[in-house]
Amino acid sequence: MKVKKIVKFIFFIILIFVITLVQFSFIPALAPLPAAANLFLVVAIFILFFFDLRLATAAVILGGFFWDILSFNFFGFYLFSLVLTLLAAYWIMRAWLTNRSFYAWLILMTIMTIIYSLIASLLLYFFIYSGQTFFLMNGNFWQQLFYQLVDNFILALFLGLLAAAVTKRLRPFFLEKS
């Protein structure tokens, strides 16, 4: 049993590192529209939605740390952006999205994409770009947000359908009529 747990743990760490690496190297190399996808965020929220908070927190710490090491952004940028986004996601799930339906998953992912973009842009603005135009006035921010919403929605759709096919955690699939 212990060995099984250790193997699962090692597999989890490797999976998180691979997803982070794909997010770091593969996705930004694509054309501008698909390059805006945040696969790691989708996976982290997926883990929170379908599994539990502890696993999602562990994923975010590992992935955020690894991403910070590889990136040339200030250290802690991805770690704190993801932790704060996860906190927001947890609060929204507890306060509003109390069932585990497909719609709830898609709505949560849409909201978290916006929240992550705002948190990340705020951190960048305060630590790097404070002398420049506020990011909300920058057309580039809105374009990137739109691309990210489209990409993350598609990824969330795909992951949600996959989860519905392989697990019973996503029930009911659609909202039940009362």
Binding site: S25, F26, A35, Y129, N140
Partner: protein, 267 residues
């Protein structure tokens, strides 16, 4: 209202994140950073190449008529270059003879380190920056020139870690290079990236004669970048008679979005 429980994962996460930040500031995480980056660099390069290939194949819808016109232009250019090359060969040969007569040894102390691109630089607002798999341990430092396989300048090193480095592309705003125009007066100036698409050379005196098609090279000022490396070609000139300065828009000679292998020139 969320109740804060003992062993709340968020408190653990914030504490862990804070500790990591603290250790990183002290430099204690550097060995781990180097181990991790060394371990993932090969895979990162492969993933970047796959992504880049997908991007190339998806954007390759070209018009056959345009292609044919481009082939004709290129054939004319090849003919012109053959003529220019033959003159250069003569000049080089004459130069060698003159140097030997003067007993002048032209030694080149510049080294070239090849590097693979492993990711796009997300810190650049317009995304026009790259990360390469060489760093301080390979002799890289800020300010060095980065060229493609043909020796054309594609960017400059702006930040270095032990095993990876960040480069700004010549089209990135803020990526400035000391340059000269290959015209009669060898006009000197500074190039700067423009919107991630082209390069701008500003503050060219009105009296300087520049033409569309003039080649822009590195001027060698500053010492970090050797003189004579090709940066681009003048595509258009903005020249108002009532202005003190004129401006030139320079087009890069290589597609900067399709770089996968580069070289860094180290003095």
């Amino acid at each position: 209202m969320i109740k804060i429980k003992k062993n709340n994962p968020f408190i653990v996460a914030v504490v862990v994140a804070g500790l990591l930040l603290f250790f990183q500031a002290l430099g204690w995480l550097r060995p781990l950073e180097n181990i991790l980056t060394n371990a993932v660099k090969p895979l990162a390069g492969v993933l970047y190449n796959w992504g880049s290939d997908l991007e190339v194949s998806s954007s390759d819808g070209v018009n056959p008529a345009e292609l044919e016109a481009k082939i004709v232009d290129l054939q004319k250019e090849v003919a012109t270059l053959i003529v220019a090359n033959s003159k250069s060969v003569e000049t080089v040969s004459e130069n060698k003879k003159l140097r030997s007569l003067l007993d002048f040894s032209a030694s080149s102390d510049w080294q070239v380190v090849s590097a693979g691109v492993i990711a796009r630089d997300e810190t650049a607002e317009d995304g026009s920056g790259l990360l390469i798999n060489r760093g301080m341990r390979d002799g890289l430092r800020v300010g060095l020139a980065v060229v493609n396989e043909e020796g054309i300048v594609v960017g400059q090193i702006v930040e270095v870690k032990d095993t990876i480095a960040r480069i700004c592309l010549t089209t990135s705003p803020g990526c400035q290079l000391a340059a000269a125009i290959q015209n009669e007066s060898k006009t000197q100036g500074l190039t700067d990236g423009n919107l991630g698409l082209t390069i701008k050379m500003s503050y060219i005196p009105q009296l300087e004669k520049i033409n569309v098609g003039d080649t822009i090279i590195s001027s060698g000022l500053g010492g970090n970048i050797p003189r004579g490396l090709v940066i681009g070609r003048v595509a258009s000139i903005f020249n108002e008679s009532n202005e003190v300065w004129q401006e030139a828009t320079i087009e890069p000679l290589v597609d900067l979005n399709r770089l996968t292998i580069v070289a860094v020139i180290i003095p």
